[in-house]
């Protein structure tokens, strides 16, 4: 360890400087989200732009204004709700599909897997019109179900599950059969708990996908009661009465959950993605 300490220090310094470089816009955003527009303009050309104002009675004013005068909290809660439903539904549906492709023998299984993998390269924007028409024909526009339905199946998540399930030992399933475990029960009580990492990875990716999605909810939802955070962000920031400080406060509020998720699950995200490329995973 001692032998490596100097290169290690150099590496740490380099990484620290690089992380500052990437964090610079975030720090700027955070610092200015507490300021008035006048203060933001005044600090623009100095290092004070990266320093929040002194803590006083009006420190959180931009945030209080956004929370009081807009429905942004509601939009965030809506998005959290949609994300929760999609995580549960996505893990079940994509997980079952991944399990079938990994473990159940049926004709042309490998070709089906290949077709599903090929779907990964199709950009979601190219099928959004079809999805919209499909949802509209079913009379599901402006409903939660209409928003969620086309988002449940995700080829990438199926691929992730399949790659992990392939490496699950078959004899555990055989032992479970002798323990009177049904296939469905096996999936929920054995397969998913044995694959926590990929479940966490898929959940995080699903959450981020829902949280950051703008196009699909903007097409499906017209009722303000159902809007998501990204649409709320757009409507608030494009309002002429919204100040720069309030805009930055909204952006901060929408960014924080993403940062928390990454901070909490970065290990699982890396492990999950790495494990899908390795049979031993």
């Amino acid at each position: 360890m001692r032998k490596n300490s100097i290169p290690r220090i150099i590496l740490t310094v380099i990484l620290f400087v690089m992380s500052l470089f990437f964090l610079f816009p975030v720090i700027w955003m955070l610092a200015n989200s507490f300021k008035t527009d006048a203060a933001i303009t005044a600090d623009m050309n100095s290092l004070r732009a990266f320093v929040p104002p002194a803590l006083n009675g009006s420190f959180f004013e931009n945030y209080v204004t956004v929370i009081k005068d807009t429905d942004f909290i509601r939009y965030m809660l809506n998005t959290l709700f949609y994300a929760a439903i999609l995580i549960v539904a996505g893990v079940i549906v994509n997980g079952l599909a991944g399990y079938a492709l990994a473990k159940i023998k049926f004709p042309f299984r490998e070709r089906w897997a290949l077709i599903i993998m090929m779907l990964m390269i199709v950009p979601s924007e190219t099928i959004i019109t079809i999805n919209f028409l499909f949802v509209a024909k079913m009379g599901l526009l402006n409903t939660i179900f209409g928003y969620i339905l086309p988002m449940i199946v995700n080829p990438f998540n199926i691929f992730l599950f399949r790659q992990v399930f392939v490496s699950l030992p078959d004899d555990v399933w055989e032992a479970a059969q002798l323990d009177y475990c049904s296939p469905v029960k096996y999936f929920f009580t054995m397969v998913l708990p044995m694959s926590k990492t990929v479940v966490a990875t898929v959940s995080v990716f699903t959450f981020l996908g829902v949280w950051n999605d703008y196009l699909w909810p903007s097409l499906v939802f017209t009722s303000s009661d159902l809007l998501t955070a990204q649409i709320g962000l757009n409507s608030i920031t494009s309002n002429d009465n919204t100040t720069m400080g309030q805009t930055l406060a909204v952006i901060t509020m929408i960014t924080i959950p993403v940062i928390i998720i990454y901070a909490l699950f970065s290990k699982q995200i890396v492990e999950g993605v790495v494990s899908t490329g390795s049979k031993e995973g």
Binding site: E174, A175, A176, L178, D179, Y180, M190, M194
Partner: protein, 364 residues
Amino acid sequence: MSFIEFKNIEKQYPGADKKSVTDFNLEINEGEFIAFVGPSGCGKSTTLRMIAGFEDITGGELYIDGKKVNDVLPRDRGIAMVFQNYALYPHMTVEKNISYGLKNMKVPADEIKRKTDWAINILGLEEYRNRKPKNLSGGQRQRVALGRAIVKNQKVFLMDEPLSNLDAKLRVSMRNEISKLHRELGSTTIYVTHDQVEAMTMADRIVIMRNGVIQQVGKPMELYEHPANKFVAGFIGSPQMNFYDIILKGNIITFADGNTMKLPDSVIFKLPAQQGEMILGIRGEDIKLDQQNLDVFSENKHSAVIENAEVMGNENNLYFTFGGSQTIARVSKYEISGIGDKIDFVFNPAKLHFFDKNTEVRYV
């Protein structure tokens, strides 16, 4: 009536040009400990998996406790199984692993507790009951797998090379534990192994398989003393039996290297009309180096030079070339010979085995 009955059981995998198991006929009595033994690919595990219901039976009929089970689901066959890789549920504790099946069987909670405690106690797992499998050693994991099997009180235990992942020392102690457990529970057990020592030491009867075909079924000493063919003779026993290509003319054996040996009438008597080329087999311990045997069988005394010696502690294995074949003599620890030493030896004529040159079936 037999408890498990195989009637012309066959297995052929889709796309395979030959059968993995061919015309397998066997009757197993209730409470018996049967070992399926043979080299890799002989069909022993496939047969076990057909009993479990994890492989389809492509021909023949299988009966357990009088009921045909060809199309019965694994869980409804009344079997418990111990797997080679333990197949424990990695996210469950020892206690939950053992009790999982009982819970699915809707056994009352107090009964589950009683049975789980009994299994944990009998297998010495008390201090590990709240540990997960990853925090257990190989031997402890194997005990949990055994616990999971015994707790359900099934009619038949299937064990698929359960000790193959353990080190040599642990294998011996687990062998003893499994035998003890079998005696205590009295359950019908089918044990698959490629290790003939495990089969010999544990089983009431051994089924030896090769290329999907039963070679011989019998008690351990029957197989050892009276192997049905050269394959069985070579498979059972360590070191393996020595084999020689010979020509028998009258009562004289001529080995490939020109050495000869006169057979006593008692042996010739057992070989009616069998003359000409054949294979002679003799076990290492039946090659005698001690003076008493050299005196008794003096007219058949031969000499050789030791090429290698394995000192085992309780005995020695001496390697030398004789009769055109590598020969291993198993001698007592007191009969020490070094590499390069010349030794005199005789074959105990009462322990000779003769096999047909073509079919390799044993004459006597």
